[in-house]
């Protein structure tokens, strides 16, 4: 009797103790279940009919409406989008800073009783996307850029508050401790010792979120919350395809410009 030459065989493909195998199996099951449970209309999408209607749809985009009054309107929409994102981010930076203080343990003996509830609030603010905030805020703030600005501010407050709290907790404790042992009050310790140390980090987080928010503000309007998105939803709803094409072009241009500027900025700063 010879021993089986197992070392010449490839390892078995499946082994109950192999975590990666179970993970792969689970993944395949998830993907198959997803495709199977969604009533995807591939036939309709890949049919000749759909191709024709897609072609017609794209054809209607040409020529884009480039008349001066409409271009002025689009430019105004773009400015509105930029203003929404800037003001929303600014408000969020303030709100985030105000919430980051109770959400962080300022020194080793700080009981920080408000830490857990404030973090819960920040998580709730953060986990609701801007667009859902906008749809809800429309009810109290009405159609227009105000609702969009508030929506951006709420979501970004959650994001920035959490990041700010991390930054404040990770700041070197030396200067703050030095002031505290001299009997300086909590607010002054924060303003004169902790804040100057973390300010560059807070600024870079805020700028990063502003970049994200410009992109978000461009599409936020499709639920009616102002900016380019609102123009887009309006003209698309009325089948003004030439105008829709112009607005889409402006949106892409804005996004590309923001991308390029942030890339250049980062290149310049990291040099």
């Amino acid at each position: 009797m010879t021993t089986p030459k197992t070392h010449l065989m490839p390892p078995p493909l499946f082994d109950a103790r192999c975590k990666a195998c179970w993970f792969t199996l689970g993944l395949i099951a998830l993907v198959v279940a997803s495709f199977w449970s969604l009533d995807l209309q591939w036939a309709q999408f890949l049919s000749l009919d759909a191709a024709r209607s897609m072609g017609r749809f794209l054809g209607e985009f040409f020529p884009p409406d480039l008349s001066a009054p409409f271009l002025a309107k689009v430019a105004l929409g773009t400015l509105e989008t930029l203003a929404m994102s800037a003001l929303g981010t600014g408000l969020a930076a303030l709100g985030g800073l105000l919430l980051a203080l109770p959400a962080s343990r300022l020194h080793a003996t700080d009981p920080a009783r408000a830490r857990a509830p404030t973090r819960l609030l920040l998580n709730a603010l953060r986990s609701i996307p801007e667009l859902v905030w906008a749809a809800m805020l429309l009810i109290s703030a009405g159609l227009g850029p105000f609702a969009g600005t508030l929506a951006l501010a709420f979501h970004t407050t959650g994001v920035l508050g959490r990041l700010f709290a991390e930054a404040v907790e990770n700041a070197p404790p030396g200067p703050a401790d030095a002031l505290r042992t001299q009997g300086v009050g909590t607010a002054q310790v924060f303003v004169y010792a902790t804040l100057p140390q973390v300010l560059p980090q807070l600024m870079s987080y805020t700028l990063y979120r502003w970049e994200n928010n410009i992109r978000a503000a461009a599409v936020l309007g499709v639920v009616g919350a102002g900016g380019l998105g609102q123009l887009l939803a309006f003209h698309m709803g009325l089948f003004h395809m030439g105008k829709t094409a112009t607005i889409l072009g402006a949106m892409l241009l804005l996004v590309a410009l923001v991308d390029a500027l942030s890339y250049l900025g980062r290149r310049l700063m990291s040099r």
Partner: protein, 281 residues
Amino acid sequence: MNASARPTPQAAALRDPAWAGRVFWIGATLVLLWPLGVATEFRPWLLLQPDSLRVSGHFMASFMPPAMAPDFLRLVARETWRTVAIATAGITLALCIAWPLTLMSTRVLSISALSGRMARGPFWLRQGLRWVLIVLRSVPELVWALVFVRVVGLGATAGVLAIALTYGGMLGKVYGEILESGEAHVTEALLRNGGGRLQAFFYALLPQNAAELTSYTVYRWECAIRSSVVLGFVGAGGLGQQMDNSMKMFNGGEVATMLLVFMALVALADHTSAWLRRALG
């Protein structure tokens, strides 16, 4: 300057030396903010007007208690699954778009570049494919969804296609960056010794970068779940569409339930993805 005008040591210690600068910058910021407020019709006091307060108060009050009818919960469960399924199917298709484009556009797998400069043809092919990825990525998924809802009608198909295109672009671009940022020695050695591009990819490039690639894909899957809820608001199916319907009918209880379910879903996806990424190391 005589001695009496000099501040006492105590007052000097209490005075903020940067006082004037701080006041100036706060003032300048406020002046800069003013036009922004005008452009965004920023009028918070409108929120406090009686009729606006009444409407929002009514809506907020109807959040409690959240809707808990069995029929409705069943609907929410089905739509939640559909949301996850749209994200998963979208990411799967996105991978089908991203991988071929990544393989064709990554510079590490260029054979002509081994001898110094890449030949002109392959260079422009790679550059062109990069531009395709950038264009795919820079159209927001919501805009793709609006377009596809027009073409294929309301429903999950539009959501899946929108996620597939945008995330295909994102994944392709970042995969390319990951592959090009690592050590290229092993890949080069294989290519120089006559290995094919696919062989070099599977035996050198992929094993080196597998963990990072998988972790990024899992992170994007998490993002796709979030965005598939948002896509529902333009009619691409799932939880978002139901939320939109309930909001239009001012049914606060249903909105509250769905928001809670959504937060739980996001937290779950967050934890799953963090756990998976940790397990990958």
